[in-house]
């Protein structure tokens, strides 16, 4: 088996206010997996994803992405590692007052010469690529409108196009459909599935609904109180495991 694209060893995170978000989490992700992370709110899903690109600095443990140690990386190395990891957010995190195109181009900031980018100048090939990525998510015609004018589903597609500008080997998706109408969830997740299958991008995606996790994940990781309570294939989550993850009184609902 080839080297895993992501390796996490004994990762722990305790926030300054004493909250223990992750305790001793270890796992590996192989190239091309669609790993879905499930768990209740506050189980550590967001913290885990943010430790991978060090938006959150871990308290202990190590993270390797593509063989490079993220936890020990210098500032410049960290920037270079980060640009290979796309990220999609629950609240989309677009600059709402800027144009859609500018938001997408911002995904390329790790590559372009800094002085040029400060003047909002991007080389023509980069702009072309941004338009291609917008076309891929089906909103090229909105390129020159403001991001705030888009619906939630459209904003999330801009978020995906922005991540694509990084030519990522991994995409971290933090509850990408939790702010959306359930009917839109599939359209967003299908884009991620398409990137996973056609482009071979490894996806780590946290989701609320088990039904969505089963439908899209090639592998499911469940967190409870910052620790892994399940790691396996979607089909292996039975009633007992479900209750172990979500608590005794939980009932599964379907999102169609």
């Amino acid at each position: 088996m080839s080297e895993p694209i992501l390796r996490i060893e004994h990762l722990s995170k305790v926030y300054e206010d004493g909250t223990r978000a992750l305790s001793d989490v270890s796992f590996e992700v192989a190239r091309g997996e669609f790993l879905v992370i499930i768990g209740l709110s506050g189980s550590g899903k967001s913290t885990l994803l943010r430790c991978i690109n060090r938006l959150v600095t871990p308290s202990a443990g190590r993270v390797w992405v593509d063989g490079r140690d993220v936890t020990a990386a210098s500032r410049d190395d960290l920037r270079e590692i980060r640009r290979g990891i796309g990220m999609v957010f629950q609240q989309f995190n677009l600059v709402r007052r800027a144009s859609v195109l500018t938001n997408v181009l911002a995904g390329r900031l790790g590559y372009v010469p800094p002085a040029w980018s400060l003047g909002n100048y991007f080389p023509a090939p980069v702009v072309d690529r941004a338009m291609q990525n917008l076309e891929r998510v089906g909103i090229a015609e909105k390129a020159f409108g403001r991001a705030s004018a888009l619906s939630g589903g459209q904003q999330q597609r801009v978020g995906i196009a922005r991540a694509l500008m990084q030519e990522p080997r991994i995409i971290l998706a933090d509850e990408p459909v939790a702010s959306l109408d359930p009917a839109l969830s599939h359209s967003i997740l299908k884009y991620l599935e398409d990137l996973n299958r056609k482009d071979g991008i490894t996806i780590l995606c946290s989701l609320h609904f088990l039904s969505l996790a089963r439908r899209y994940g090639t592998r499911i990781l469940a967190l409870k109180d910052g620790a892994i309570v399940f790691d396996g294939r979607p089909g292996d989550i039975d009633e007992a495991r479900f209750r172990a993850i979500y608590g005794e009184r939980a009932e599964e609902v379907e999102v169609t």
């Binding site: 938006l55 920037r79 796309g86």
Partner: protein, 374 residues
């Protein structure tokens, strides 16, 4: 259980009595005498009617003029040199006060009313008689030489033949000039405010100072300075600055500037505190440098708000600079106060209309611009 109706509660009556006492005392200390509104109405009536007739335009009269000398004290004037146009012929050219003389005028426009003036040696005039020219443009009148100082007098006949085109009055020119000064006074004061408020506002934003060593102290100090400076009215600042740099618009600029630093600083700080951290996180995740994060995630969020607040402040400053002249801080307030003090109501009305129009226009323009930005 249903609560008792209000009129069953003694608290309601106590509150009512307290309110009556407070307002009665307030009525007393502020010396409200509604009768004065009625009694003083005649005093303010000329002003109200002047509002309908501001001194805005004027027409220059076209005047035909002819004169002849009349000397006192035995001195004889030099003989008149006949020229083209209207002329005066006097039955005598010298004498003493009380002497009578016949005046004959010739060469005027026929059928017009005119006035005969007596002008003394230092150019002071008094009317002598009114006349009307006949079909040949002549008139005859008899005058009595008045008792005046000096010896070399002139008798002047003036006939108004018509009026020239409408042109802006002197008052309008002065008021316009001062209004331009007022608008620029506000602009310079606002600019001064912006230049200092932008860097200071970063120190007054809790979300930024939180990461600095002693950030809490910096934040508290900045905010305290803002609040103190804001609590001093700009009019008071203007008085202080006129003492410092002398009367004139510069004192006004400084007063508005200091006040604007404080108000803008507070507004800017709050704008910075309210930025969404999501885009910052997202841009950081792309591998962008700190400068790029500021350029792409922070600046787009705060600049439109900064501009909107600045226009809003300029708007307030224009309004304020119209009164800063009352204390010698320059601008239109200075002439407005003069007109009011001299009871020159039509001129005061011109200044007031000018203020109303310019302030309303800027108010509207700034609202439109702000709407587009935010």
């Amino acid at each position: 259980m249903r609560p008792a109706p209000w009129y069953r509660s003694w608290r309601a009556y106590a509150g009512l009595v307290l309110a009556v006492a407070v307002y009665a005392y307030g009525w007393h200390v502020t010396q409200i005498r509604l009768g004065e509104l009625w009694r003083g109405a005649p005093l303010i009536r000329p002003f109200v009617s002047a509002l309908a007739h501001p001194d805005v335009v004027t027409r220059e009269p076209a005047v035909q003029r002819a004169s002849g000398a009349f000397y006192y004290g035995g001195e004889q004037p030099p003989p008149a040199v006949p020229g083209p146009g209207p002329a005066l012929r006097l039955s005598r050219a010298s004498g003493a006060a009380g002497a009578r003389a016949a005046v004959h005028g010739d060469g005027f426009t026929p059928g017009r009313a005119g006035t005969l003036w007596w002008e003394n040696q230092i150019g002071q005039r008094q009317p002598l008689a009114a006349f009307r020219t006949d079909a040949q443009g002549r008139f005859d009148a008899t005058i009595t030489a008045p008792d005046v100082q000096g010896t070399r007098n002139q008798i002047i006949a003036e006939v108004t033949t018509g009026y020239g085109p409408l042109r802006p009055s002197r008052t309008l020119v002065i008021v316009l000039d001062r209004m331009v000064e007022t608008v620029f006074l506000a602009l310079m004061g606002t600019t001064m405010g912006v230049i200092f408020a932008v860097p200071l506002s970063f120190l007054g934003a809790r979300n930024l100072t939180g990461h600095l060593p002693a950030g809490g102290a910096v934040y508290a100090l900045t905010r305290t300075v803002f609040n103190l400076a804001r609590s001093i009215e700009a009019l008071v600042l203007a008085i202080i600055f006129t003492v410092w740099v002398g009367l004139g618009p510069f004192a006004g600029v400084l007063a508005l500037g200091v006040h604007s630093i404080a108000s803008l600083g507070k507004l800017y700080s709050e704008a910075i505190e309210s930025i969404d951290t999501g885009p910052i996180e997202a841009i950081m995740a792309t591998g962008a440098s700190t400068l790029q994060v500021i350029r792409y995630a922070v600046v787009p969020q705060i600049v439109p708000q900064f501009i909107a607040f600045t226009i809003y402040r300029w708007d307030i400053n224009v309004r304020f600079s119209t009164v800063i002249g009352f204390v010698g801080g320059g601008g239109i307030g200075f002439v407005l106060q003069q007109y009011i003090n001299l009871l020159q109501w039509p001129q005061a009305a011109t200044a007031l209309w000018m203020i109303a129009l310019v302030v309303a226009a800027l108010d509207y323009a700034s609202a439109v611009v702000r709407e587009r930005l935010v």
